[in-house]
Every structure is written in structure tokens, then in C-alpha cells.
Amino acid sequence: MNRLNIELPGLSMKNPVMPASGCFGFGQEYAKLYDLSRLGAIAIKATTVETRFGNPTPRVAETSSGMLNAIGLQNPGLEKVIANELVWLEKYDVPIIANVAGSKVEDYILVAEQISKAKNVHALELNISCPNVKEGGMAFGTNPEVASELTKLVKQVSDVPVYVKLSPNVTDIVEMAIACEEAGADGLSMINTLLGMRIDIKKRQPILANGFGGLSGPAVKPVAIRMIHQVSQAVSIPIIGMGGISTAEDVIEFFLAGASAVAVGTANFVDPFVCPNIIDDLPRVLDELKVDHISELIGGSWK
């Protein structure tokens, strides 16, 4: 009996674990280490219309139990992602979630329309929460009306279900989630990184060339758990939970908060085998908790 399979809009997953967008490239590096077909899904790196180089370096800085990044959505651009990266991924038996980013509404629409036609793209993740780009990105994800309007437009052109990736950098995450659900989102993914900064005390200036960046890793986990706990009680669409997951126990905690699947981000940088390790370890934790199927735990902390 499969105790881990999960069915979500567009996504028929062997298990609930996927690498998070931006932490896994387009899979090629990790494919040298293990069979990508073992993953529940793969959220590929954000795709924009044009090729983007991203921000100047340093792009990463460490913090206690976490890291700051300001990569700046570096990617080869829509055409190359479809022609090269997605075609290369076709040999794996794993659904792909394409993360869609842009600086203008038209960019999001163009990327969503075209990338959703790729045969292995089973869902879109609408990135309205990237803190590291000057235009667009998070600006779309901090105002409910703007997020709602963009979600509606993307839904109109997408051939596959749309998950909206929420920013934690808002006063009321529930308001944002409800606005996206009402606009037709098929699911939510949360949380993106928290805005942060570190300063080099010798140089008296920020470590990141971009100044600020997004905080991720175990340090943000309680924020993610709290927000998922709140949002999952206010909406009826499923949530892909993320934020500092590095163990099977963390996955269970996210399910209990209200997530129906999870994404593992920063932990891939510490241990490149973390995703398959978590998947292999989940049955042990289910045994300990005397749970037959992981889906029984969804929202278990408040139901």
C-alpha cells in the first residue's frame, strides 16, 4: 500500500515531497546524484520571458539557522526553458510545476500561456512573491487586488491548474489567500522567503550586493507553520507548504498545520540527497504516529 501518494489539482504525486523552486535549478545537477522520478514533483526555477542574469554577487549570506539569498531570478528565458530544460526533464516520470515570474502583467501572461502547454508541466506556480527583483515580483503579491487580478488573467490563459505562491511579507496573509482563491487559484504554495538583511561590520555595508534578500531555512519554519495553519482554515483550496523543511518530522508538522504537499528548499544545499532521504524516512514517522496514510494528517492540528 502506498502511504504517501497525494492527488492535487493537476498533480498526481507518488509522495508529497518536491524540491522548491529556485533551490533545484532545472534538475540537471541533482539528476547526477539520484533518479528524479523518485520525487513527488519538481518545482523548476522561475521562468521569465527573457534571459535574466540576475543580481551582482555576493548573492548569498548566512544567518543563524538560515540563509539570505538575492539571486534575482536568473534563468535562460521562456524559449530556452521550454526547448531545453523541460524537454530534458521529459525522461523522468515526475510532474513538473513551472514557476512563472515577470515584471509586468503581460510577462506573466506570456510565460503562463506558453509554458503551460509543455507536456510535462502539470501545474503553474505563480511567483508573486520574489523579494529580489526591482520591478514586479513581490509587488504583485503584497496587494490583494493586484494579486487577484493577475491570478484571474493567468487562469484565463493557462492550460493547467495554477498555484499562487504567497509572500509572507504582508500584514494579513489570510486576506491575500482568500483573494487568490476567489480569483480562481487552484491551490496555494507558501511561504516564499522573508525579507532580510545582514551587514558586514568591517565594511559597514550590507553583505549582499543587492542589499536585502530573502531569508530561508529552518529559521523561517515557525512563520510558515503559523501562516499555513491560519490560511488552511480560511480557504478550501490545497496548500503546498514550504519554509525550512529538512526532515520527515518537519513534513508531518506542515501537514498537521494544513499543507497537502510540501516543498524542500534550502536543505537541498546542505544535503543534496535530502529529498529522497525524507521520502524514505516518512513511513518510519507514520509508523511512530500510528498513521496509515499521510493524507490523514492534513490540518490535523486544527480539525
Binding site: Y30, G54, R59, V60
Partner: protein
């Protein structure tokens, strides 16, 4: 590339804040070559979270041992410096593309130029070059007398010059000053050190065949996170890039923007 728990055989303080760490394990050492680096997890917990990229200074296949040399500058490396023989460290590696010894013909002269904590990877490179009959000359630059290490070990392999910025040891000045003042000639140049030093080498010897090892803050070390990218030279669009962790850390002179 594998993840291996390696045993610490020894840890020695060899210069101001500089440590030589010898690690032993059955597999990883046999995959390693000169100029590659290791990604070390210095804490069991989550602080610091990321691994530390440290270049390989010596590969001892017979004894299954790898030597790395690092400066205990920040939190992670300071924690690593406290570890003692018998303890284990999780090592991801070997990573990156190192120095190619085939770029220098036997009998030709290779000059190896290192600055500070950029010196260590040149040691295994020198061992390998000597093995194939290349004549090696070393020019090692340090901040001051307290920072100098491995001078004797390099001297055993070939002519070795040491320069310090403050003149408290060897010749006063930069590695470039030494090469010019001593009138050193060579067929190939290999260098590792701070970016200003690498830029000076590129500007001083633009027509020479040379290879530079770069350093940058890294995330994953395996090419997935895009933290350590650099621009490619002569790219008007400024969108072409190289990843220092996987395309490098060694690049030919003129290949990337320093």
C-alpha cells in the same frame, strides 16, 4: 561527487588563523584531483547551516587522506578549527573543475602564484606538475610574517619566492612585483588568490597561457543555486555566465570577468 563522513587524522595551526586539516575516508579521495574543492559541514546542527567550500591542498591516494588548509575567519571555519583528531566531518565532494596539468608540456616552466589562503590548492598542483616533468617556480604572497605557511614544502618541489605586503618576511610587495623584479620567465601561469591579485596577473601577462582559480560565496556547491555566477568576457548582452562552483573554480585567463 559523493557525501562521505571523513575522519579527522590531524589538525594543526600552521600560521596566524590558518589551519591544516587532514581527513581520511575510503572513497572521496580517489575521485579528487588538483584544484578541486570540498564542501564541509562544520556543525551537526543548523548554525551555521551551509557547508564551507575549502580547496584541496594535497591528495594522498595511498593513505586515503586529503589535506585542506583554511583560515578560521568566520563562524563556520572557527568551529571547524576546534575539531580534533578522531572526530568526523561530513564532506561533499570533490567539487568543481581543477587545474589541468596537461596544459604545460614536460620540460616547460610553470609559475604557480598564490595569495594568502589561495596558496593551498597550488601545492597538489605543484606535486602533479613535478611528477610529469614540468619545472615549477612558486611565488607566494602573504600579508605579513605571521601569515606565511608551506614555504619549505614548496621549496622541496622547486624554486620558491615569498613576498609580504608589509615586508616583515621575504620581499616586500606583491607577487607581481616579485615576478618582475626577479625577471622570472615561464610558459604557463597558474594562480589562486584574491580577485585584485588575479586581475593584476591578467593585466600583466595577457598573452601568456594561464589559469586562475576564483573564489565566491557559495550556496550548494553543485551548480543548482546560482549564488556564485560570474559574467563571461566579451559578452555584450551580459547574460552569458559561468558558475564558479561547477564550471570553475579554475578558468583560463580571459574567460570570465574578474
Amino acid at each position: 561527487m559523493i557525501v562521505e563522513n571523513m575522519e579527522i587524522i590531524s589538525q594543526r595551526n600552521i600560521a596566524s588563523k590558518v589551519y591544516e586539516l587532514v581527513l581520511k575516508g575510503p572513497e572521496l579521495v580517489h575521485l579528487a584531483s588538483q584544484g578541486q574543492f570540498l564542501h564541509l559541514k562544520v556543525s551537526e546542527g543548523t548554525d551555521p547551516l551551509l557547508r564551507r567550500p575549502i580547496s584541496i591542498a594535497q591528495i594522498n591516494q595511498e593513505k586515503d587522506e586529503l589535506t585542506v588548509i583554511y583560515r578560521a575567519e568566520g563562524k563556520g571555519t572557527s568551529m571547524l578549527a576546534l575539531k580534533q583528531a578522531g572526530e568526523e566531518v561530513s564532506v561533499l565532494g570533490p567539487l568543481g573543475n581543477g587545474f589541468s596539468i596537461k596544459e604545460t608540456k614536460p620540460g616547460n616552466v610553470a609559475i604557480l602564484v598564490g595569495g594568502g589562503i589561495g596558496v593551498p590548492p597550488l601545492y597538489e598542483l605543484s606535486l602533479q606538475l613535478v611528477k610529469v616533468g614540468v619545472k615549477v617556480v612558486h611565488v607566494l604572497g602573504f600579508a605579513g610574517n605571521d601569515d606565511v605557511f608551506y614555504e619549505e614544502k614548496f621549496t622541496e618541489l622547486g624554486e620558491t619566492y615569498v613576498a609580504t605586503m608589509d615586508g616583515t618576511y621575504g620581499d616586500k610587495g606583491t607577487v607581481i612585483d616579485v615576478i618582475e623584479e626577479k625577471g622570472l620567465t615561464f610558459d604557463t601561469i597558474y594562480a589562486c588568490g584574491p580577485t585584485p591579485m588575479l586581475k593584476a596577473i591578467e593585466n600583466s601577462f595577457p598573452e601568456k597561457k594561464g589559469f586562475l582559480s576564483l573564489e565566491e560565496r557559495m550556496g550548494c556547491g553543485i551548480g543548482a543555486c546560482f549564488a556564485c555566477v560570474c559574467n563571461v568576457k566579451n559578452d555584450p548582452t551580459k547574460t552569458a555566465y559561468k558558475k564558479i562552483c561547477t564550471d570553475g573554480p579554475v578558468f583560463a585567463i580571459g574567460e570570465v570577468e574578474l
